[in-house]
């Protein structure tokens, strides 16, 4: 019987879905050591390029593989799979208060406890001394120091910003020099920073809290001097780009931008803000992602998911699919999600399938099982 060399075994395993790898941990001790190794997690993510998934919260938790969404002439549908985390007890309300890449921040028991969870591996970590109220929350990854950080920014700027390092397992409090008034329930993470919209006495800005330096910097908006009393703003991330929705926030006729959907094509570059699909003010849409590298945009509106597309000319989908009078020019379909208890869910988020672990000490299993007590021995064995 032929035996494949280790580098080819690593190659084949790095293309496996996460669920298969969770099962294959039981193959042998060296396999367990490989699959739980952070270097393998990175290789796996680069090979599979992290499939996008939706995470739905209803009476239970579910995920949907975006690749499985099928669209035909009559309808669009997809099946959901239930996710159960080890700490979950029935009958408690679960709320997501932040997400980045593969990790979601989920609170339970009316905001009493916070868990950072990877729905792909179902691995979780509880954040100690969690306090939900009077603050906005976010999670992100500081790549250069390989650390996930959970951030809590208080409405009262004098109380500063609490940062919890998942690598160090500890809290620090840093000063908030920014002192704006944030407008979001939770922060939006991209490029090693967590972003909030800030309004105050001056113009509205996007503040980006750098997770390595633990300091704020500002990002430009497409317009200068936008006053918060006439407009409201929503930022988010769609396919690794920051988006901004500008909506007129008062009934009175105001001159200026309204119902606009912008995407920042080059991070931090003002001129790269690009006007995209116009969105209806009244319906508070939340863009989720583009489907499988097409121009077809998946959005949610409360607990309904819609898919925007333009069959006649998909290339121009992004442009003026909805005109100034909120009339749909482009076409859309409502995505039907099967397999949800009571056919009802309340919120939806995107995440990336990966082996990323919220537990930095997880590697003890590798060392315990393999007599490879050093990082180098493990590296030499597999890589």
């Amino acid at each position: 019987m032929s035996t494949l060399p280790r580098e080819l075994v690593v190659n084949i395993l790095s293309r496996q879905p996460v669920k298969s790898l969770c099962r294959f941990r039981c193959v042998s001790k060296p396999w367990l050591a490989l699959i739980t190794h952070p270097q393998f997690a990175k290789l796996h993510l680069s090979q599979t390029r992290g499939g996008q998934r939706l995470f739905l919260i209803g009476e239970s938790l579910y995920y949907v593989d975006i690749e499985n969404i099928s669209i035909n002439a009559d309808n669009a549908n997809v099946a959901a799979t239930k996710v159960v985390f080890p700490w979950m007890e029935s009958e408690t309300e679960l709320v997501c208060i932040g997400s980045y890449n593969s990790l979601l921040c989920i609170t339970t028991d009316e905001y009493a406890d916070l868990f950072v969870c990877n729905p792909s591996t179902r691995e979780c970590k509880q954040i100690p001394d969690f306090d939900y109220y009077d603050a906005s929350h976010g999670i992100g990854y500081a790549e250069s120091i390989d650390d996930y950080k959970y951030v809590r920014i208080y409405a009262d700027a004098k109380k500063g910003i609490d940062v919890y390092s998942l690598r160090k397992d500890s809290w620090t409090n840093v000063q908030n020099d920014f002192r704006g008034k944030y407008t979001l329930v939770w922060g939006v993470t991209l490029n090693g920073a967590i972003h909030w919209m800030f309004t105050g006495n001056g113009p509205t800005v996007i503040g980006a809290f750098d997770l390595v330096e633990e300091k704020f910097k500002t990002l430009p908006l497409p317009y200068d001097n936008l006053k918060s009393n006439y407009f409201s703003y929503k930022i988010g991330v769609v396919n690794d780009h920051l988006f901004l929705i500008i909506q007129k926030s008062c009934v009175r006729k105001v001159y200026g931008p309204g119902n606009q959907f912008w995407i920042m094509k080059d991070y931090g570059v003002k001129a790269s803000w690009t006007r995209s699909l116009k969105l209806s003010l009244r319906s508070s849409y939340k863009p989720l992602c583009y489907l499988n590298n097409t121009e077809t945009l998946l959005i949610s509106q409360y607990n309904i998911m819609k898919i925007f597309f333009n069959q006649k000319d998909p290339k121009y989908l992004n442009i003026d699919a909805v005109d100034e009078d909120d009339e749909f020019k482009g076409e859309f379909k409502t995505l039907k999600v099967d397999g949800i208890d009571g056919d009802h869910w309340t919120s939806v988020y995107t995440y990336v399938e990966s082996l990323a672990s919220p537990n930095y000490k997880n590697n003890f299993t590798a060392e315990e099982f393999l007599d490879l007590s050093t990082e180098n021995a493990l590296r030499e064995y597999w890589f």
Partner: protein, 180 residues
């Protein structure tokens, strides 16, 4: 490197004037006469001929790590791709390539697949290696732990207690697995 070159006076190699052929000898002694553009897809062959100026048309290059069976599989793939390239030099006919590749691996057993992966790795044909490891990945992705151990020839070194604990921890990952 030159010490491993064997000379051959095979009469068939000199007969075809119009198309240059390269002779490759497998581990079990069979000599394959391969059209040059096909043989050059094998990186090990290409670099051998690029690095050795004294080789002639009579040179037979030995490939001690490749069996005859694996060589047949390798050449079938490389010839098909050369044909696609010759017909459509600008862009490969993607659907045809996919159909060929699907039919090509369906006929291969796990053992044959692994042998070809080893051969593609040794011959350094990155495109084929990438394709074959992808096929192996697809083949095991929904299989049981026992199937995967047998596929890779991995010995289970857990105690029954250790394995039972791990299985309990990841119980959900064992749902919906294919029959072996």
């Amino acid at each position: 490197m030159s010490s491993s070159i064997a000379s051959s006076s095979s009469s068939s190699s000199s007969s075809s004037k119009k198309e240059k052929k390269i002779s490759l000898k497998t581990s079990d002694g069979e000599v394959f006469e391969v059209e040059e553009p096909v043989a050059m897809q094998l990186e090990i062959v290409r670099s051998f001929f690029a690095d050795n100026e004294d080789v002639t048309e009579q040179t037979v290059m030995p490939l001690p790590n490749v069996s005859t069976a694996a060589m047949h599989g390798i050449l079938e793939y490389c010839r098909a791709h050369e044909e696609f390239r010759r017909r459509m030099p600008e862009a490969a006919p993607e659907e045809e390539v996919r159909a060929f590749e699907a039919g090509y691996v369906d006929r291969k057993s796990n053992e044959e697949l692994k042998e070809m992966i080893l051969a593609a790795n040794y011959l350094n044909i990155s495109k084929l290696l990438d394709f074959l490891t992808g096929v192996a990945a697809k083949r095991i992705e929904n299989k049981s732990v026992e199937y995967v151990r047998a596929f890779f020839g991995v010995e289970n070194d857990f105690t029954p207690e250790e394995e039972a604990n791990l299985r309990r921890e990841y119980e959900w990952a064992f749902e919906g697995v294919d029959e072996d």
